[in-house]
């Protein structure tokens, strides 16, 4: 066992033991552990295999920057790949699996990839694509996909809830470390609404677990607790732990994910697992801290090599020693604190290796007091050990000439704590700001100019000292509330005391990569997660990919799930060195959201399953469902397709239903038709302008079919409009175009004819409608409507009259879509179900049959009535045989462009009917051709739009659009060609009205 739990220290609750498994093996840890700390405490050092080379990897960090220790958390539908062991909070029963290894983590066969290394260099995929032949990819793809990649997504549905919500505030503070807390406190004291979000389960940031720093004379941790208590006591402050603000979008809108129940095995009490927050705020304080940077050397990915501050955090927060004997390799002061704290916690520090010759006195004294060996003017040239670090190779370093000496010593160690300085976490600032600016003092980038209302403070702004963080935070909090319209009083800057040896990361000597002057040239990793080496960066440069954007895409540096949190700056530095330019000259890649990965569940929220999209139901919906109708969607509406009887298929059902209408009586739910109230003194004039046919002469109590054109002269929509009063009209539209027609009318009233006193209102939902059709429809209605004369004189064709149907107020309109004598009965939607029931009961004596959309279609096709498939936006009134509906006497929308030459050519596609000559069904979408065989169909002469079997004439028929229309083609034999689905069947061209051409059946 190499790692262990320290006897004391840490924020874990040692009385609460938690059991968990990793790769099926049982372990235990404490409440307050992360998966990484618990495994380290159990002596586990091998966490996973690397992306390309399948090299053994351990824990590299203690936070969200973790490139190595990626595991699949949970199992089954709850499995989540690529979660970082360093941020997974331990819970009872946690299950985790290692990734990217087979057959096991210990014995991974694909680790042989390490030997084939040169093949897997930068640009591997591009080179393979362009390989010996293009077919190379086809051959290799299967194997490459098997071998590469991180964890696998679960194939089962996730049983947990994910939700989305909205949040508003004056000031959002991202990060609850010292800077963020100071900012939030100042902002909150002004009375502003403040949201303080932090990705960790607790506030404190770098002060979490800090035992030596003091603020205003009290331990820093107490200051954190006191500040948080003051904040959370205020009604307008919301503290959101476990909440990652991942994206900064326009108008100060930020995206955040709250991991509500990720720290539990399963969410309890209807909690979502995660909740996505869209945060809108006046001002933002970005206090996201900094991430420690590695140094690149041979074997720097060996398990046991990790960031220096991570070793300290495991000790401070979880009371875990990451090893027994450590070497610390640093180019700045900050890692000395790690060395000293580890030593004080009982870990043997074999040496501190520092390329600098001059080390501050406070540090050398502290080191000497503890008897730690300090190798200044030295560097680490290699780390060795396979699955666990065994030796650290050290050589002299001359800072003046920047030259590495011959390796002179191999130090035994199981841990190598590395610090190459600190990289500010500028993701959000970069998303909503100008180009980041290189700061020589810290050899990294700090936020550029803010392009939205934000301020970056603390370590993410390059200020690493605690006192600086607190005063900058407070100042930013004050500025932020002022942006939001509040006045702020200055918060006194607290007195800060930190130990003399608490050096900051700003004191560094920039060194990026250590190369031995001679000897072995092993792999030196820049991007640990994507296995990009220093040599890959140089190869990219040699092959011409010098721009940082090209470097990223060619080598995949910085592209993985960690988005290069530990590798970007080092990669840039190496490219700069290869180009012999400075880092700012080479540039930096900008960050896009998300800062850390966001689950698809959080982005989808509750829009899954039957919540995917809303469903629109008519008042009679439940009856249709109870009657066993096949329900189909029509836009968002649900409509009955057919009411199948036992043993019937859809065909048999709609044929029976359509026949019943022709022979007796049927009824159909037409509540979905668009309905628009057109009201006002100028309503008639308005209708006359929007329809192509005249509306000036429509009398009260009558309906008229209207054809509406678009401005470009093509047909837009059709329907009947009923005149209910002097200035009151009810316009009906097709189901599909209801919203569009309303918007069209509103647009015209708002912009074209604002002087017209007309109001249009959607009343689709106000009315339930039933069409009662067939020779017995009148008798059926007469049996239940007693206060209305339903004779041809009382309600003539196109007549509209109010009445009462067994106590229900109704409007009866004599309209026919089916070609039979028919009535549409409308009532208030809340009466719809009762109306339907009463009509069904009344119809029983007449053999009434309910029919669905399929029979509705059959009846209208038999009559040659056009609908959606014909009103497809490419047809004119003339094309559809409705030229007579286009008035020559008045102006209306669409008339000028309808008269264009091209819309009046003789060879335009015109509406015809076709009858299958061989008795086979026709398919919509088939092309009409003259060629006799499928092999030689000839050119398309048109297409079939609506098809059905016609019970009335016992044939398969269709409406079609044919070049030249009916006149030159009548009785012509053509073929309906359907090359994609197969089929080449003879048809005869006929008039589109297949049945009762003179309309005698509806005028009785």
């Amino acid at each position: 066992m190499s790692g262990y739990r320290l006897n004391s220290g840490g924020l874990v609750d040692r009385t609460k033991r938690l059991n968990f498994t990793f790769d099926g093996k049982s372990y235990s840890g404490f409440e307050g552990d992360t998966l990484a700390s618990a495994l380290l405490a159990n002596g586990v050092s091998l966490f996973g295999r690397s992306f390309k080379y399948h090299r053994p990897r351990g824990v590299y960090s203690a936070g969200p920057e973790e490139p190595n220790a990626l595991v699949t958390l949970r199992s089954g539908g709850r499995a989540e790949p690529n979660t970082k062991a360093t941020v997974i909070e331990l819970y009872e029963g946690l299950e985790a699996q290692s990734q990217n290894c087979w057959p096991s983590l210990e014995h991974d066969l694909l680790s042989i990839n390490q030997l084939g290394g040169p093949m897997l260099v930068a640009g591997f995929y591009y080179k393979t694509f362009m390989g010996p032949t293009r077919k190379a990819w086809m051959f290799y793809e299967h194997f490459i996909r098997k071998a590469a990649g991180l964890g696998a997504a679960a194939k089962e549905a996730d049983p947990d809830r994910y939700e989305k919500s909205n949040l508003f505030c004056d000031v959002l503070v991202v990060g609850a470390g010292p800077s963020g807390l100071a900012a939030a406190l100042t902002a909150a004291r002004s009375g502003a609404r403040v949201v303080l979000a932090d990705e960790n389960p607790e506030a404190g940031g770098a002060l979490l677990g800090e035992s030596q720093d003091t603020i205003d004379g009290q331990p820093a941790q107490d200051w954190v607790a006191k500040t948080l208590a003051e904040l959370t006591a205020l009604p307008d402050v919301t503290f959101m732990p476990r909440t990652t603000v991942y994206g900064y979008y326009d108008h100060n809108i930020l995206g955040a994910v709250e991991r509500v129940a990720d720290h539990l095995a399963t969410p309890v009490n209807h909690q979502p697992r995660q909740k996505h927050w869209t945060i809108r705020c006046a001002s933002v304080v970005i206090a996201t801290g900094a991430i420690e940077r590695p140094i690149v050397f041979d074997g720097n990915d060996t398990p046991g090599v990790m960031l220096a501050d991570a070793t300290r955090r495991f000790a401070q927060r979880q009371g875990v020693a990451v090893g027994r004997q450590a070497v610390v390799f640093t180019n700045n002061d900050s890692a000395y604190r790690a060395a000293l704290d580890l030593k004080d916690a009982g870990v043997d520090i074999a040496a501190i290796v520092d390329p600098r010759n001059t080390i501050p006195d406070a540090l050398t004294e502290a080191v000497q007091t503890r008897g730690i060996r300090l190798l200044s003017g030295h560097v680490v040239t290699g780390a060795k050990g396979g699955k666990r670090l065994k030796t650290v190779e050290v050589a002299t370093f001359d800072a003046g000439s920047q030259s590495v000496g011959e390796s002179k010593e191999w130090i035994a160690a199981d841990t190598l704590a590395v610090s190459g300085g600190w990289t500010p976490t500028i993701h959000l600032a970069s998303q909503a700001g100008d180009k980041p600016v290189f700061d020589d003092k810290i050899a990294s980038f700090v936020p550029g100019k803010a392009l939205q209302a934000w301020r970056a403070v603390g370590a993410c702004n390059g200020d690493f000292g605690l006192a600086d963080c607190l005063s900058a935070g407070s100042k930013a909090g004050a500025g932020a509330v002022e942006d939001a319209g509040f006045t702020s009083e200055a918060t006194p800057t607290p007195d800060v005391a930190v130990p003399a040896h608490a050096g900051s990361g700003g004191s560094l000597y920039p060194i990026w990569e250590i190369s031995r002057p001679s000897g072995p040239k092993g792999k030196k990793f820049v991007d640990l997660q994507h296995d990009v080496t220093a040599e890959d960066v140089r190869l990219a440069q040699r092959e011409g990919f010098e721009s940082v954007e090209h470097l990223k895409r060619y080598t995949t540096l910085g592209m993985a799930a960690d988005q290069g949190k530990t590798s970007n700056v080092n990669g840039l530095a190496l490219m700069a060195a290869a180009l012999e330019r400075s880092i700012p000259e080479v540039g930096t890649t900008r960050f896009r959201p998300p800062y850390t990965p966001v689950t698809l569940g959080a982005l989808g929220g509750r829009e899954t399953g039957h919540h995917l999209a809303p469903v629109r139901r008519t008042p009679m919906h439940d009856w249709h469902v109870k009657a066993g109708a096949d329900m189909l969607t029509a836009g968002q509406w649900m409509r009955p397709q057919v009411y199948r009887k036992a043993g019937e298929d859809v065909f048999a059902a709609y044929v029976r239903e359509a026949k019943a209408v022709r022979e007796g009586v049927g009824m159909v739910d037409v509540s979905t038709l668009g309905k628009i109230a057109v009201q006002g003194p100028d309503a008639q004039n308005f209708l006359n302008l929007v329809y192509s046919n005249g509306f000036k002469t429509l009398a009260v109590g009558k309906a008229r079919y209207g054809l509406m054109l678009r401005e470009d002269g093509f047909v837009y929509d059709d329907g009947t409009t009923w005149r209910l009063g002097e200035t009151e009209y009810l316009m009906t539209t097709t189901t599909a175009n209801a919203a569009g027609v309303l918007a069209h009318l509103e647009f015209l009233l708002a912009t074209v004819w604002p002087e017209l006193r007309v109001q249009v209102t959607s009343v689709t939902e106000q009315w339930a409608g039933v069409a009662v059709a067939g020779p017995k429809s009148r008798a059926t209605l007469e049996s239940v409507i007693k206060d209305l004369d339903l004779s041809n004189e009382g309600v003539p064709f196109m007549g509209v009259q109010p009445g009462t149907l067994d106590g229900i107020p109704v409007l009866v309109a004599r309209l026919s879509f089916s070609g039979e004598m028919a009535f549409e009965v409308y009532t208030g939607a809340n009466y719809g179900a009762a109306l339907w029931d009463k009509l069904m009961a009344a119809g029983e004596a007449f053999g009434l049959v309910p029919y669905g959309t399929e029979a509705l279609g059959t009846l209208r096709i038999e009559k040659g009535h056009v609908a959606g498939p014909e009103l497809d936006g490419r047809t004119t009134a003339k094309d559809l045989g409705l030229g007579g509906m286009a008035s020559r006497k008045k102006h209306y929308i669409g008339r000028p462009l309808m008269e264009r030459e091209a819309l009046n050519e003789d060879n335009r596609l015109g509406l015809v009917g076709v009858i299958s000559s061989n008795g086979k069904p026709l398919r919509a979408g088939s092309h009409l051709v003259a060629g006799q065989t499928a092999e030689q169909p000839g050119k398309s002469l048109g297409h079939v739009s609506s098809t059905t079997y016609s019970p009335a004439i016992d044939k398969f028929v269709a409406l079609a659009m044919l070049e030249g229309g009916l006149e030159p083609n009548e009785n012509r034999e053509l073929f309906a060609a359907d090359p994609l689905r197969g089929g080449h069947d003879p048809v005869q061209v006929v008039h589109p009205c297949f049945f009762d051409k003179d309309g005698s059946r509806m005028h009785v």
Partner: protein
């Protein structure tokens, strides 16, 4: 059985659902069935006289701008756009009364009594439930009592009226009412919700 069947009659079954907390359900939800919902519209040049007529007939002062409501014993008048109002009233005969008073030169009355389903939601978590569906700041200082908004929740259009700090009345297109109810109650699960009988 009544001839009237309301959109949420089957869905809104009284009971307590969702998370159980020590404080009891976070919201109470019920179907709200006003007698009448009327859209009233003035012409640009008649808005002042139209509002005067509404004020005297409904015994209230018409709010000065869209996004506000005024309430009296005659009903709630929601200003939904310049010169456009939604009257929600339980007064019998109000439709006929206003239709008689408002001639076409003055403005129009459009009956939407059947076109909307009403829902009333009240309780300490009412705003928490609603903000899951739309991005309107429901802080009482930003959206005070008798504020009105037209927005969408789960892709469904609705009109929202805050009647007190923790109570909201929602008017939804009838055809979407059940889908809306499912989405709303789903959003309320984590706080726990009680369904009360209609009109309570």
């Amino acid at each position: 059985m009544s001839n009237l069947v309301y959109a949420l009659e089957d869905a809104a079954q009284p009971g307590v659902y969702g998370a159980a907390g020590t404080e009891g359900p976070g919201v109470t939800i019920s179907e709200h069935r006003p007698e009448s919902m009327l859209q009233l519209g003035a012409w640009p040049d008649t808005q002042a006289s139209f509002e005067a007529l509404l004020a005297s007939t409904l015994n209230l002062s018409v709010p000065s701008r869209p996004g506000l409501a005024s309430v009296s014993s005659e009903g709630s008048l929601l200003v939904i756009a310049p010169g456009r109002y939604l009257l929600v009233s339980d007064k019998p005969g109000i439709t006929q009364q206003l239709s008689g008073q408002i001639d076409a030169d003055q403005g129009v009355v459009t009956d939407l009594s059947h076109a909307r389903a009403g829902i009333r939601m009240t309780g300490r978590n009412a705003a928490d439930v609603l903000r899951k569906g739309f991005a309107i700041d429901l802080d009482i200082r930003k959206f005070p009592v008798h504020s009105v908004a037209q927005t969408t929740f789960h892709h469904i259009g609705l009109t929202l009226h805050r009647t007190d700090e923790t109570t909201f009345e929602l008017f939804i297109f009838r055809g979407f009412a059940l889908s809306f109810w499912e989405a709303l109650t789903d959003a309320a699960l984590e706080y726990g919700y009680q369904v009360a009988g209609a009109g309570q």
